[in-house]
């Protein structure tokens, strides 16, 4: 009975996710009648069949394998989700121009070969940057500065997927707890409960003291969000493999949120340490800038640590795979694959560890912000 309920809920949310995806895509295709694509070779050849074959030839002859370029392409963000060979899912491109909003599918760009004329401007894509082009095909830097790229890129789509997974897991577990009030946990609850207790007992309570309950939702969210996104990034095929946590913009936002939460909750002692440190007043010109830099250095370290660890792991795996292509021999394949399996298992550990470290350091910083213990300098308080 319960199993059926879970599968029905799973199908419902897969449908929900596909519905959101399709609605975004439908909006994109609805504009198809408005804009039209321009083939780059149109000026040279009016026969589209020849244009198609030149397009095919360009893809047919392989330039020499460039591992650096391949790796950077896989690590970075993309406007399409590449599945295999020449098949990609064209993700919606959403541009906010000074003349209005423009949406179309990124498949109109044909992997960068053609430009697309939308409602307001003509666009082309270069190294995943969308630029405005003039009528003759040259890039118009002036106009390109005015467009903001708000597309659903691969990273954003992967984030939607991980959000759906997390919501699925936690709403079903929460509902199960409500239904089984007072009874022992059963099924999926038994998987999630030890992890939540681990976060509470190892991360929240030691660092936050008795006020831990207020910050538990935040810490749990960070922990599971980073962990699930790390894991999805490790899966080599669709719908995984989008390097979200290895994107500096993503980790930047996580670090900024931690910074905001820590400092909004700072109490008087915390700010005293920063702006009126307990050192002789003569040292204040040195100490106060150092303390302010310390305030900023802590989230900065969080940001770079998560970004670098996950990106480094992905780069290592991609480099080991490209060994096969560099040596151009299939004999390397067993060695390479064995190494890659070893590195991937290590990456599983790193995925959990980085989520744990991020959450633990966040809890530590919040703990220093809200702590009211007085160590060696509470002269006034002790007199009460």
């Amino acid at each position: 009975m319960r199993k059926r309920g879970f599968f029905i809920k799973k199908t419902k949310s897969i449908l929900l996710f596909s519905a959101v995806f399709c609605i975004t895509m439908a909006n994109v295709y609805a504009n198809e009648s408005v804009g039209h694509e321009n083939h780059a070779s149109e000026s040279k050849d009016t026969v589209s069949a020849v244009a198609d074959s030149t397009h095919a030839i360009k893809h047919g002859e392989e330039e020499s394998f460039n591992p650096g370029e391949m790796i950077l392409h896989h690590i970075g963000d993309a406007h399409e989700w590449h599945l295999w060979g020449h098949t990609s899912i064209g993700l919606p491109v959403i541009l906010y121009t000074d003349k209005g909003i423009e949406t179309f599918s990124s498949s109109k760009f044909h992997h960068g070969d053609s430009t697309y004329t939308g409602k307001h401007y003509t666009y082309s894509i270069e190294h995943e940057h969308i630029k405005v082009v003039n009528a003759d095909g040259s890039i118009n830097e002036e106009a390109s500065k005015n467009i903001t790229d708000l597309s659903i890129t691969r990273n954003v789509a992967s984030m939607f997927l991980s959000i759906t997974i997390l919501l699925l897991i936690f709403t079903s577990v929460a509902k199960a707890y409500k239904k089984r009030e007072g009874k022992a946990p059963k099924g999926f609850q038994s998987l999630i409960e030890p992890i939540i207790i681990f976060v509470r007992d190892e991360i929240a309570k030691p660092n936050l003291g008795y006020k831990y309950a207020r910050f538990m939702p935040f810490l749990l969210t960070i922990f599971f969000f980073i962990w699930v996104n790390n894991l999805i990034g490790l899966v080599p095929f669709f719908p995984g493999g989008a390097n979200l946590t290895g994107n500096i913009a993503f980790t930047l936002v996580m670090g900024v949120i931690t910074f905001i939460v820590t400092n909004v909750n700072g109490n008087k002692t915390y700010w005293q340490h920063v702006y009126a440190p307990h050192v002789p007043k003569a040292l204040w010109p040195i100490m106060i800038p150092v303390e302010i830099i310390g305030l900023l250095a802590k989230p900065f370290a969080l940001i770079v640590r998560l970004f670098a660890n996950i990106t480094a792991g992905h780069i290592i795996v991609l480099s080991l795979i490209s060994l096969i292509f560099i040596f151009k021999s299939l004999a390397i394949a067993p060695v390479s694959v064995a190494f890659v399996i070893f590195m991937d298992v290590l990456e599983l550990l790193v995925a959990f560890l980085q989520a744990f470290i991020f959450t633990m350091l966040t809890a530590l910083f919040i703990g220093t912000a809200i702590s009211e213990e007085h160590g060696d300098h509470s002269h006034s308080e002790e007199h009460h």
Binding site: V304, R305, L353
Partner: protein, 69 residues
Amino acid sequence: MTGSIAAIGAGLAVIGAGLGIGRIGGSAMEGIARQPEAASKIQTAMIIAAALVEGVALFGVVVALLGNG
């Protein structure tokens, strides 16, 4: 000779990481040898310290990547 200064920089950063984490692992093993019942606590602390040291080494790698690309 191919390569770049950035690659040398990344290699140096990795030497630092290797030394640091090696020392952490060494002291952790000594601690466990002295007091086997504290093994799990020591192991947890070791993993945390190793992740922090690795974070610092990866700063170096990130700067090398920025310098290269």
